[in-house]
Amino acid sequence: MMDRFPTSRIVPVAIAAAVVIVLLSMGQYRSLSSGLSPVREGYYIAERVITAPFRFAASAWADYVALLDTRRQNKELIRELEVLKFKCQAVRGLELENEKLRAMLDFKTSHPELKLSPARIVTHDITAMFRTVVIDRGTLDGLVPDTAVVAPEGLLGRVISVTGHTSLVLLITDPTSSVPAMIEESGVKGIVKGTGTSTMELEYVRSSEMVDIGSTVITSGLGGRFPVGIRIGQVVGVKKDPGKIFLRITVRPSVDMSRIDSVFGVALGAQAAD
């Protein structure tokens, strides 16, 4: 046994074992963190030097050659983004249409006594002074002259001329339009007349009456042309001229005439009975 493991070898092994024992007794990796750091540094420098050409090649590939693909991907993504943007707009359009239809449905539900036929606006008045629209419902849909036309927000006007498939609607803002009306809060009656501008006048209200700004003006139903209680607009101005027996009341229509799209033809009396 001793022949196979000479004494000269025992000493270095013992030293090595002692070193190992010392190192083990020093605690967790303290020797490595302090003593071996030059090794790591050396290794690091060597590694940088050796791998530099490879890294350069890899970087060139990633930053330039592979970018060709990135460019293509970028183009595709931009295109995809444009498609998504367009789809988003379409969804927004559908949302708006949905809101509009819901408002129309609400109006129909809240006025069960009225026979309503939905219609769309085909064209507007060709002059700047008069206010009419043509809708896509006519005699074939039961509309006749004087049929009231409403939007979900309130009264729009009445039919003045009708063909099989179209009707010419005189808007309440037209200078030739007159609608029997009353103030909802006080019951004061008058006639709402169009002016050809975006506001109307409530006429024939005595100066002795009290009319507040912000009051709601609704149809009074007098004359039987318009159903009772349809909202016309809101009082935005009251002027009392000394020596005059009537007030000068300005009314803003509840329907935004520049945004009307979907409307209802309202059949009354005999038409409703049908």
Partner: protein, 157 residues
């Protein structure tokens, strides 16, 4: 003559579509009168007889797209036609700038007269849209006059 008048009325119909559906779809209060330029074109390129016939027929056709009192549109276009026809000998109407000024000016005058008669004053944004409409009417004038000239050339009348 029949062919020319039919074509002209077809164009007037197209103008009514543009004025009543296309332009309001872009900006609802905006109204551009394309027919006013055609009336000027009738003075410049057609004879008095043909022009007068065109003015009357077209204005009656346009009556179906407005609540204006029957006869008001024919009156408006007729006054313009006669006034321009009288000035034809004095003013060089072939100049596009003159045409634009005349059409625009008459459009402003017509609108102002209407509101004076009605006794109402358009306010704020309405004035802007009306002025824009009158200016665009003036811009469209020379184009419509040129169009009438080309049509006259095609039919050779």
């Amino acid at each position: 003559m029949l062919k020319l008048q039919t074509s002209l009325l077809g164009i007037v119909f197209l103008c009514a579509f543009v004025e009543g559906a296309v332009i309001p779809a872009l900006w609802t209060p905006l109204r551009v009168d394309l027919v006013l330029g055609m009336v000027l074109g009738a003075v410049v390129h057609l004879g008095f007889g043909q022009g007068l016939l065109f003015v009357m027929l077209s204005s009656m056709l346009l009556q179906s797209f407005t609540s204006a009192r029957p006869g008001l549109l024919p009156l408006f276009y007729l006054v313009f036609f006669v006034a321009i026809d009288m000035l034809k000998e004095v003013i060089y109407l072939e100049n596009p700038l003159t045409q634009a000024l005349f059409v625009s000016g008459f459009s402003v005058m017509g609108t102002a007269c209407f509101f004076l008669v009605q006794g109402v004053v358009p306010q704020g944004f309405e004035v802007v849209s009306m002025l824009a409409g009158c200016l665009l009417t003036g811009c469209a004038g020379p184009v419509m006059v040129g169009f009438m000239g080309r049509l006259k050339k095609v039919y050779g009348t």
